[in-house]
Symmetry: D2
Subunit: 327 residues, 4 copies
C-alpha cells in the first residue's frame, strides 16, 4: 500500500479529537452507565441531552448523550486551533466539493458541520465553554477514572481512501495493518494530530460507522476495577473484549458496550509520536500479537458491530480482511 507522507502544512489546523455526540434511546439508562459505572463527570443535563467530560478536560463536554428514537453516532467532533481555521476549513471544503453548514450547538462557539466523502459526520470548532479541570478533585473520581477522550475508531468501507483523505488534512500515520505480499491492501490505520498514537483509527468494515470512542484512564488497575464493577452491577453482558494488551499502540485495553450497544474503549499506556521523522509501524494481518499481545482473539461482535451515523448510506467493506475470531 502507499504510505501517506506526513503533511506539515495542512489546509487548516485540526488540534485533536474532541467530543462525540451519541444518540441514545434511554437517556436515563445511558447517563447511569456513563456517570455511575464508567465515571464520567456530568457537567450539564436536561430532558433531551446529558453533557459529560473526563477529569483532565477543561472543555465543557467530550461526550453528549442525545435522547433519540434510534441509537446512532450523531457525529464526532475535532477541535481546531482558532476561528481562522474554521474559515480555512470552509474554503477547503468549498474548493473540494464537500458540503458543510454552520451551527452553534449548546456550549460551543461557531461550529462547522460536514459529511466527509466517505459519509462520516464530523464537526469542527475552535472554542467551547471552559470549566476548571477536575484532576485534583479526587473526591469526585468514580468508576475507572476516565481522564480524557483519546480517540475515535471508525469502520470504513475503503480504508485506503479514507486514510488518504485525513492524511491530506494533516493526520499522521503511526501504525497500520496490511495484507502480506507486494500488493497487500491496508486493513487498518492509526492516525494522530495531538502527538500520541491516534486521534482517529480507521478499520476495514461496513461503513461509515463508529467502531468505538475511547477514553484514556490512568492505569490498568482502573480498567480492572471497571470489569469488577460492571460484573457486580448488571453489566456483565456489556463486557465485550479484554482486558488485554494491544500489540498495536502497546495499550492496555477494555471494550464495553453501553446500553444502546455503542462501544466504549478504556485504554492506557501508549506513547508519544511528535517527531517529524516518526515512522509508521507496520503490522502483518497474520501477526496475532497485533490485536492482542497475549494471544486471546476478539469475539466476532467486535469485528462486525458498530454504531451507524444517522441517515447515511452504508457500503460493504472493499475487501474482506483476514481476522482471528474467538468462536
Amino acid at each position: 500500500m502507499p504510505i501517506p507522507k506526513h503533511v506539515f502544512d495542512p489546509p487548516f489546523n485540526i488540534i485533536r479529537s474532541s467530543h462525540v455526540v451519541l444518540d441514545v434511546t434511554d437517556l436515563k439508562a445511558s447517563r447511569a452507565f456513563y456517570e455511575t459505572t464508567v465515571g464520567l463527570h456530568v457537567e450539564d443535563a436536561d430532558d433531551s441531552a446529558v453533557y459529560l467530560r473526563g477529569s483532565e478536560e477543561h472543555q465543557h463536554h467530550s461526550m453528549v448523550l442525545r435522547k433519540a428514537t434510534t441509537a446512532a453516532c450523531n457525529r464526532i467532533g475535532f477541535k481546531v486551533g482558532n476561528e481562522g481555521d474554521i474559515d480555512k476549513a470552509a474554503s477547503f471544503f468549498s474548493e473540494n466539493g464537500i458540503r458543510y453548514t454552520f451551527a452553534e450547538p449548546p456550549f460551543q462557539g461557531r461550529t462547522l458541520q460536514f459529511t466527509d466523502p466517505f459519509g462520516f459526520r464530523i464537526e469542527l470548532y475552535a472554542t467551547m465553554e471552559k470549566r476548571p479541570h477536575l484532576l485534583r478533585r479526587y473526591d469526585l473520581y468514580r468508576g475507572c477514572h476516565p481522564q480524557r477522550l483519546d480517540h475515535f475508531n471508525i469502520f470504513a468501507a475503503e480504508v485506503q481512501g479514507t486514510m488518504d483523505f485525513y492524511a491530506r488534512l494533516g493526520f499522521r500515520l503511526t501504525e497500520y495493518a496490511e495484507e502480506d505480499g507486494p500488493n497487500g491492501r491496508i486493513a487498518a490505520a492509526w492516525l494522530h494530530r495531538k502527538g500520541n498514537v491516534h486521534d482517529l483509527a480507521i478499520t476495514n468494515g461496513k461503513g461509515p460507522r463508529l467502531h468505538h470512542v475511547c477514553y484514556w484512564v490512568p492505569t490498568a488497575m482502573n480498567v480492572l476495577h471497571l470489569c469488577d464493577v460492571m460484573a457486580s452491577s448488571g453489566y456483565l453482558k456489556n463486557l465485550e473484549r479484554g482486558p488485554g494488551r494491544h500489540g498495536i499502540s502497546n495499550a492496555f485495553f477494555l471494550y464495553v458496550r453501553d446500553p444502546d450497544g455503542h462501544r466504549l474503549e478504556l485504554y492506557t499506556s501508549d506513547y508519544f509520536t511528535v517527531d517529524h521523522d516518526h515512522e509508521p509501524l507496520r503490522w502483518s494481518l497474520t501477526d496475532p500479537r497485533r490485536q492482542t499481545l497475549w494471544g486471546a482473539p476478539a469475539p466476532r461482535s467486535w469485528f462486525e458491530e458498530g454504531s451507524p451515523f444517522p441517515a447515511t448510506e452504508m457500503r460493504e467493506a472493499a475487501f474482506e480482511a483476514q481476522v482471528i475470531v474467538a468462536d
Copy 2:
C-alpha cells in the same frame, strides 16, 4: 530481652482481632470520614452509634462509632473460637485476679469484657450477627477499598510485661525492636493469632492508649488514592504519616487521623506466619529502615499522640526508647 516461646495450648482460643469501639464527639463527622472518604461499609446506624465493616468481613461490624462527650478508644475486641472459650477465659481471669463482666452489645452474642493488668479494655466474643461479605459487590467499593480490620497497635508503658501477658494467651511474636547491647530492652513487639504479621502490636509509650487500628487494603494504589481523596476533600491535615514502606512487616502503609484524632492505618502486603517454627525477626532500634524502609522519619505526633481508654489511669513509659523524628 527474653523472647517469649510460642504457646500452642493457651488457656482459651483467641482467633483474631475483631473490632474496635471508638467514642467520637461528632457522630456525623466521623461517619462521613469512615464511610465516604475511607470507604468502610455502614451496616447499621442510629442516633448513638454507627456500625461499619470492610468488604471481606462476614461479621456485622469491625468498627463501632459511639457518640460520646469525650473522644476515647472505648474498647478493642477479639473473637474466640467458640462459646466454650468464653467460659475458659472467665475461669482463667478468675484464677488470675483479672476482673471481668458479661455483656451483650448490640448484634453480638455473649461478650466477656475485661481490663487487662496494664489497663487495656478488651472484649471477647464467639458469635456476632453475620452478613454476606461484600467482596464481589464492587459497585459498593469506595475510598481505599478497606477489606478487613487487620490489627491493633497499643501504647504500653511496659512493653515487656504486656507482651509476656499476651504471649501467655497464645499470641506469637513475629517481629520486635529492641535496644542494642546485652541488656537491651524491648521497645516494640508484633504478635499474631491469625497467621499474618500481627493482630496486636505493642509500642513503648505512655499507656494504656490505642496507637492505631489498622485496616488491610488490596494494593498500594488504593492507599495512594486515599491520599489524593483526603487532600481533595478537606482532610489534608489528617494525613499524618506516609505513604511509605515499613521495614517491619514489609507493609506499605499510611497513617491518617479521624475527626477526633483517632489514628487509622491503611496497610497492605505483609506475609504469613503460621509455621510452628516461625522465628521472630529482631530489629535494632538504631536501624532507620525499621520504621520506614525508604528512610523518611515519622513526625513527632506519631510517637506521642494516641487515644486513651476511658476512665483509665495512665503511666509514663518505663524507659525512653530512641526514635528518629522528623523535626
Copy 3:
C-alpha cells in the same frame, strides 16, 4: 451433597501446603522459565534438581524441579506442626490401611511419604532448612514477584470422597461448586488449613492428577506484567487462561503452562477464613461468574489437561460436570 463439618481435633496437625516436586524433561528450560520469567528464587541447583522459593518463604524450597524422562507431578508436600505430628500421621495411616514410607529428601528433615486412597502422592514434614526471607531484597525481584506457594489444585475422579478424606484430616471447606437440585453432586471444593481460601482445591476430572500449583503475587499489576513478559520472550503459547477475576475466592488469576505443560497459577486478592463459624460458600455449576466474574470462559485445555503422578493408575471422573468452554 453432604457438607463436611469443620474438624478442630484432626488426627495430626497439617499447617499448610508447602512445596511441589515436579518431574521435568529439560531441567535447563524449566529453570529458565521459573527463574527468569516467573521470577522464583533459585536457592540451590545441581545437575539433577533445582530448588526454588518465593520471596516471603523462609523454607529452603517450595518448588523442586527434578530431571526426569517423563514429565509428571512427582509429589506435593504439606508441612505439619512438629515432629510429633509425623508420628501421629504414621499411626493414623497404619490404622487406616494407608501405606507410607519415611524419607529424607535433600534439605528436609524426616519426611513421611504416602499415597492417599485416591492415588495422590503426598509428603509430610515438620522441618526444612531455613533461609532468610527475601521480602526486603527488592533488588532480587524478577518476573511477577511470586511471594509464596499458596495452594494445589488436583483433578479427582471422585470429588466427594476426596474432599471427605481431607476434611477428616482437618481441612476446612471454604467454597464449593455443585449441581443444582436436591441430589446435586459436588464438582469442585476449596479447602484450607492456613486460614485463607485454600491450601487444596479438588476439581472433578480424570485423576489423580495435579491441575495446577499456585503462587501468590502482590498485585494484579504483577500478573499483567507476566503476561507482557511471556508474550515478549517466546512463551506466548504458554499463556493458557486469563488474566481475569475468579468469582470463586475473588482472586485475580492467570494460568500459564511451563515447558512440560505443568500448569502454574499466579493469583492475588483472596480473603481470610480463620473463624470457627466460617460457612462454606456454595456456587451453582450454572453460574458463569463462578469461573470468571467477567464472563470469559476458560479454554477446553484448562478443563482437560493436567499433570499425572508417576506410576499411578488413572480413573475417569465419576460424572461429567457441566462446564462452559471457550470453543
Copy 4:
C-alpha cells in the same frame, strides 16, 4: 507578573526535550545506577561514555553519561523539526547576539550548540540514529520501567527573563507559581512544546544549574518499586524526596540522586495541553499543595542543590522565594 502569550510562529521549531549529557566521575558506578537500578536501556558504551534510552524512545539515546573529572550537567538537548530549523536557529542566534557552534556528537546528525543569555548550555539537532523502540520487549524491562525523557527542570537566577526567552522560542506556559499581591514575582514556570505539562521547568535559585532531568514511568507502582529497590541495594541515601503527588502538574513523583548527586525525577500521570486556548494555571507560593498535594514538605537539599554547567559563571537568585522546607 506578566504572562507570556503563546507564540504560534516561533523563529524555529523545537519539537521537544530530547536528551541530557551528564558529566560523571565514576562511569561504572553511574552506569550501574541508571541501568540496573533505574532501568534505562544501555544502547552503546565505551570507556568514556554510556548511551541510554527509555523503552518508548526510537532515538539512540536520551541520556549520555560522560566520564569527567568534575560532575556537571554538560548540556541539555532539544530536538527540532527538521534540518531547516537548525539553520533558522543559527540565523536567529546570530541576529540576537547569541554565540553558537556546530558539532557532530556521536550518533547525532548536525548539532547546533549554544549557551543561552542566562548561561544554560543547550544543543539542538534534527536527526539522530534510530533504534526500534523497546515497548514490547517486556523481557528487557528493569527497575522502574522508564519510558521516555519527559522534561528538564533548571535553576535560574532570573525566572522571569528566562521564561520570556523560551516563550519567544515557542515554549508555552502551562502552570506557574508566583508571590501573592499586585507585584508578585514569578518563582517557577512550567513550559512545553510537545503537548504535555512541560519540556522545561524553570525554578528560582542560584543558576544556571540543572535542577533535575525527569523520566516518565507508566504507573505509580513502578515508582514505589524503585523506592524499594533503592532501599534494598545501597541507595537509601539517594532517595531524596517522595514518593508523593505534586499539586503542580498532578504528577506522582519521586526524586532520587545519582552517584554524583545529579537529580533524577521519576514521574507519571500529567495531562495534555495542546489547545491553543489552554490557559496557564497559577499557584500561590503560599499554597502548600502546590509542591505536594499531600502536604509533606521537601527537604532543604531539594531547594538548594543542583548540577552546575561546566565553566559557567553562577549568579544568586534575583530574590528569595518563600518555600516550605522539611527541617
